[in-house]
Symmetry: C2
Subunit: 154 residues, 2 copies
DNA sequence: ACGTATATTTACGTGAACGTCAACGTCAAG
DNA sequence: CTTGACGTTGACGTTCACGTAAATATACGT
């Protein structure tokens, strides 16, 4: 067999503490995300939350949007919601069901994607400018360092 | 005369509300930054804070470090402090005074600058990867849109 | 000098994103 | 069958970065 997944029934997923340790976050955070509707741990038969790989990936995504883009959880929820809508649409599509509001959903997903790309481009530009500034400062710093060295060796 | 600065005594600087409006932030925020030691409004003779261009620039810098890099005010304070040390060193330098701890100060400023540059590079990389992902998604979205259009025109 | 638009300090309030604690359930190991 | 490590749901606490309000002083045009 392959590595990891012991063959058999469908993967029930991992427990919350396990996932939290792997991601370096608290269990409280994971429950909080669920509270806020950002994730939905699998309909747990046992009473215990189960996280599958897709769920874990989703949390990673949330953390990225938080730390990299500075979005708050509401904004992140909106982004994920649009993507979810589209994923659902694709699923329905493949099962051949006629789907209402298809255009609307796709348009919405594309619109959000475009807005996101714009914001990322913006951030990239500003970061690049900031980096240029930093390099300029570094040059000035090194000049000061040279002046000090020159005086010392006078 | 030039534009803006009415010739005469040294510019006393602008009032807090004026600056706040220009920067699109609240006066509370400006006072809070002072409370936290991030800025020092000019030793106001009158009792009212006065902001000169350098002060305003500094606030802009703070806002950049906040929104672009996601630093908190403590981290920003540390960064600005190191830069201030170095600026002071340069000032002392030009007035020919012997300065103790010069190497230390310069080394510290360079170290902070390097750390900052590393973090910016890191952020740039991760943002670029994120952008690539987004573009990938967009391609998938457009494909769905084409499928819908094809079905409509069937 | 006067009005009023802004400023000052002091201090308590707020929203976001969790932290922490209590009381309780559950499950594999010994 | 207990023990202990994990989970569960409330519910209240905490930190950060400000918001807001009250009482008072200052700035500036006429």
């Amino acid at each position: 067999m392959g590595a990891g997944v012991t063959s058999g029934a469908s993967d029930p997923g991992r427990l919350i503490g396990d996932v939290a340790r792997q991601l370096g976050i608290s269990t409280r955070t994971l429950r909080y995300y669920e509270e806020r509707g950002l994730i939905e741990a699998q309909p747990r038969a046992t009473g215990n939350r189960r996280y599958r790989d897709a769920d874990v990936d989703r949390v990673v995504r949330i953390r990225e949007l938080q730390s990299m883009m500075g979005f708050n959880l509401d904004e992140i929820a909106a982004i994920l919601a649009a993507e979810d809508d589209l994923a659902r649409l694709r699923a329905e599509w493949q099962s051949g069901q006629p789907t209402g509001r298809r255009d609307e959903i796709v348009r919405e997903a594309l619109a959000i994607n475009r807005r996101l790309q714009d914001q990322v481009h913006d951030k990239l530009d500003r970061l690049q400018k900031f980096l240029d500034e930093l390099e300029g400062n570094a040059r000035r710093y090194r000049r000061v360092a040279r002046e000090i060295a020159a005086e010392r060796d006078q």
